[in-house]
Symmetry: C2
Subunit: 352 residues, 2 copies
DNA sequence: CTGAAAGCGCTAACAG
DNA sequence: CTGTTAGCGCTTTCAG
């Protein structure tokens, strides 16, 4: 069952069937109607492979993420997929699991399938591999920023864009929220420093603390890896301190979940004995107990921006250059893991 | 840059290049080596579209799920994808969001891409749509069971298999565990009854309760929809009862998370005042506080079985018929949301 | 506005 | 063991 079957059945040429299927407007409505009837009756579905082969466009986008098991990503993927389908594209997911070998395989697969664009939602990607993509002139979009320095300037057009996230805003809101409540000792459970998006969060935190005039002992910052597992370790480390923080901010929600787990396990009450703020505001955050205060950035907006950037590059032309930078905001969502610190009153110095 | 470029550069015919790329063993090692060198030097990547077009096989599997946002599915998808890549297949995901329109689109997309097999990991799928798949003779694998009754017997070969899950075992273990601890009033937060997998769990629960000789007032069973949101509602309903249960078993972990949330919010202590058992044992279960007792079924095994079943159907031949049924076990994982009920001692009647 | 014909990049007979 | 050749199903000039 192929285009010929339909053509024969409708008494037209295959070219006409092709035109009808592609909604070419210059087709006689009579013929068009006849063809559609046959298509529906026979249940004809055009073969994407053949279409792609001849048109040179696969209508496929690749998304590279690190770990589909972190709830943040499925939510992001869902948004991406929806938007992609909306503009007529399919999505192919590549999970690198932070492993070089996986990453290589995953890029190989995308090249084989001739993706029309790639969204890189993770860092830790080998510049060399990226070059393979950019050399083919495949449009790419990065979250945050392309790998530092390393020149991935593709030969002719630089079909690369970036979605920059204003971490600063949300994190500043969080720190101020804590400070207003009376916290003076605020810790930070950071993400892996090789991960650009994690580092950006840490920097924003440091700046916010400084801006507000608080001290930040180096042992108040713990480098983790964005898993609940290591969030537990980080919290343990903080609690073991002679003078532990009264509040912790976390680089992502999974870390915060781990931290809460450990704190609760140690007999602390949240938020009475310890305030916690997460980051990402994954859906689950509100179902924790107590419901978690977190910093939100819209997965929908992010995903949507990524798809649109890719689409823009594809439709790009001399007089319609694609924009190469989009911004996404972050904002604090206050729930119930933050309150005044237990020792709040005694912390007050005369004059305050 | 195509197969011709490579052939020319290596001084062989395109057929030879094709053979080398496909690891056909009858190629002169000398030539093979020469070709590989050129391939690597040029960074040649074969075009999957063309390959698929001529070979008639897309090396693509479709997976139909209902809601990628439920943590159970990403974990499943990850397993599926890994296994699929292992046997040389790509995975295409279709999220139906329990919406008929979405489902239709999603099947349409799979047909267009000419998937070599489909794993249906959700129920609630229109038999008519399914028929479109089976009529094309596309191998399918279902979790649990094909839609009841409705004859989806494809014309020639019946390339359909089922992965049946032994819910009974895990659930019986859970109920017994509770009974041994001293619980006599056990509630059940069920999933949507139109969902086969949910109904099977409910039935297993009812049988287990009966087997152990306990009473099950109808108001102890609450039909939910496998979301945390409605899990909260269910728990509220149970707590509002004159004689509320001392333990609840849930049809999935998200429901259990919602239930715990509400119970904790109502001032109950878990497990002291209320025991809770989830189902699925998603990763997060252990990071809840207290860590959740849950019934596990291996996502890995499930995913793996699905891929292998599809693969078997594809490689099927007269003398190597594909097995059409695989079984997956479930088992109780005891953590800290279950303990003896508060009123345990007073519940004991003389003679017990 | 419609049809005939030329491939897209590759695999799989079929000769040599 | 290697090369030549005929398509896979479709889009897209180019004539009519």
């Amino acid at each position: 069952m192929d285009i010929r079957t339909v053509a024969a059945e409708a008494g037209v040429s295959i070219a006409t069937v092709s035109r009808v299927m592609n909604h070419v407007k210059t087709v006689d409505p009579k013929l068009s109607k006849r063809v559609w009837e046959v298509v529906n009756r026979l249940g004809y579905v055009p073969n994407t492979q053949a279409r792609a082969l001849v048109s040179g466009r696969s209508r496929l986008f690749g998304v590279i993420i690190s770990d589909i098991t972190n709830p943040f990503f499925p939510e992001l993927i869902q948004g991406f997929e929806e938007k992609a389908v909306e503009v007529g594209y399919e999505t192919m997911i590549g999970s690198t699991k932070r492993d070089l070998k996986q990453m290589e395989l995953c890029i190989q697969r995308m090249l084989e399938r001739k993706v029309d664009g790639v969204a890189v939602m993770t860092f830790g990607i080998e510049p060399l591999l990226l070059e393979r993509l950019s050399l083919q002139g495949i449009p790419m979009v990065f979250i945050d920023v392309a790998p530092p320095g390393h020149a991935i300037t593709p030969p002719p057009g630089k079909a690369i864009s970036t979605i920059s996230i204003d971490y600063e805003k949300g994190i500043r809101e969080g720190v101020q929220h804590l400070a207003v409540l009376g916290h003076r000792r605020i810790g930070f459970l950071a993400g892996p420093r090789y991960l650009h998006t994690a580092l950006a969060r840490e920097h924003a935190f440091r700046r916010s603390i400084q801006a507000i005039g608080l001290a930040l002992p180096e042992e108040y910052v713990f480098e983790g890896d964005h898993t609940a597992e290591v969030g537990m370790d980080g919290m343990s480390a903080l609690l073991a301190l002679a003078d532990p923080p009264t509040a912790v901010m976390c680089s992502n929600d999974m870390t915060a979940i781990g931290a809460m787990h450990t704190a609760l396990g140690a007999g602390l009450r949240i938020p009475h004995d310890l305030s916690v703020i997460g980051f990402d505001d994954i859906r689950l955050a509100q179902y924790m107990f107590p419901p978690m205060t977190s910093i939100q950035m819209s997965r929908r907006d992010l995903a949507s921006a990524a798809v649109m950037a890719l689409k823009a590059h594809i439709d790009e032309s001399e007089d319609h250059p694609a924009p190469s930078n989009t911004g996404i905001e972050t904002r604090l969502v206050v729930r119930q893991t933050t309150s005044i610190p237990r020792g709040a009153l005694s912390d007050l110095k005369p004059g305050e």
